[in-house]
């Protein structure tokens, strides 16, 4: 049982390390450029996993306020919310939203990087007719 608690309390962190290492390995050791790009994607998501794991909170609900559905009477929402909202909201009941915000940005950065990397890969292919790094290097050495 002790092992299980350790496993549960750390599993996410270990998983993020494994994923990160998979990505890093692909980026360093793989020969194919698109493979490297795939590795890069995995590498970036590993960090996202790490951050989201930081944000997780035992026994809390998702970071959208339960009483957010204020009376639907013509939009004067704020006063209704301030009326009972602030008093009722307890930080311990909601998952930490900050890492989520950060990770939204990280995902966006990830997809942007992916797009640019793929564009570059297409250009490389047009130039050399292959995506294998060793073949490209051979060609460079010959030419």
């Amino acid at each position: 049982m002790d092992f299980l608690t350790v496993l549960i309390s750390r599993a996410n962190y270990w998983a993020y390390i494994i994923l990160m290492m998979i990505g890093l390995y692909a980026m360093i050791a793989k020969n194919n450029l698109v493979k490297k790009i795939v590795g890069m994607s995995i590498f970036q998501t590993a960090v996202i996993l790490f951050y989201v794991s930081i944000g997780a909170k035992q026994g809390a609900t998702i970071p959208i306020l339960l009483h957010g559905h204020a009376p639907e009477t013509g939009g004067n929402l704020a006063h209704a919310a301030t009326g009972h909202g602030t008093a009722a909201v307890q930080a311990v009941n909601y998952i930490n939203p900050l890492p989520h915000v950060l990770m939204l940005t990280a995902i966006v950065v990830g997809v942007a990087t992916l797009g640019v990397a793929l564009a570059l890969a297409i250009k490389v292919y047009k130039e050399y007719g292959t995506l294998e790094e060793n073949e490209i290097n051979q060609r460079l050495r010959r030419g």
Binding site: E72, T73, G74, G75
Partner: protein
Amino acid sequence: MKLQQRKSSFVISFFILLLFWVVFSGRFDLFHLSLGMISCAIVAWFVSDLSIPNPRPMGILRLWFNFFLYFPWLIWQILLANFHVMALVLSPNMMERIDPHILRFRSRIRDELGLVTFANSITLTPGTITVHISAYGDLSVHAIDKDSAAALPGEMEARVARIFGE
């Protein structure tokens, strides 16, 4: 496309989309409804020349009505066929019982949407998958065994044809 057609197409899509908006949104205050109106208008304008090729308000209503009548029957067929394939998959001597083959026939449905509905219905019923469909209604269907293939085109074609008024 003519402007008149486009206008009516716009109106029809607008109301259909608004219905969906309301279902999605679930908020009925003025602010969100007006947002919905704007959104639906934008989308309807954007799609007015492609989603509904020849708009006839009554026709569309009848189509939907017929479609909802067809739906339970289809579900029932799917359910039956599902159990059939389920049994096939789970049976120990599966390799003997299956007999994949390709079936070719010509449907009498001419309406494009009808053909698509028919093809998708065929695909949805387990045991048969539409492989290819031509504009004239030539279908090739992959069937997993003889029983699944036997029902085609059969009743399903008739019902689909009825929806589209043929």
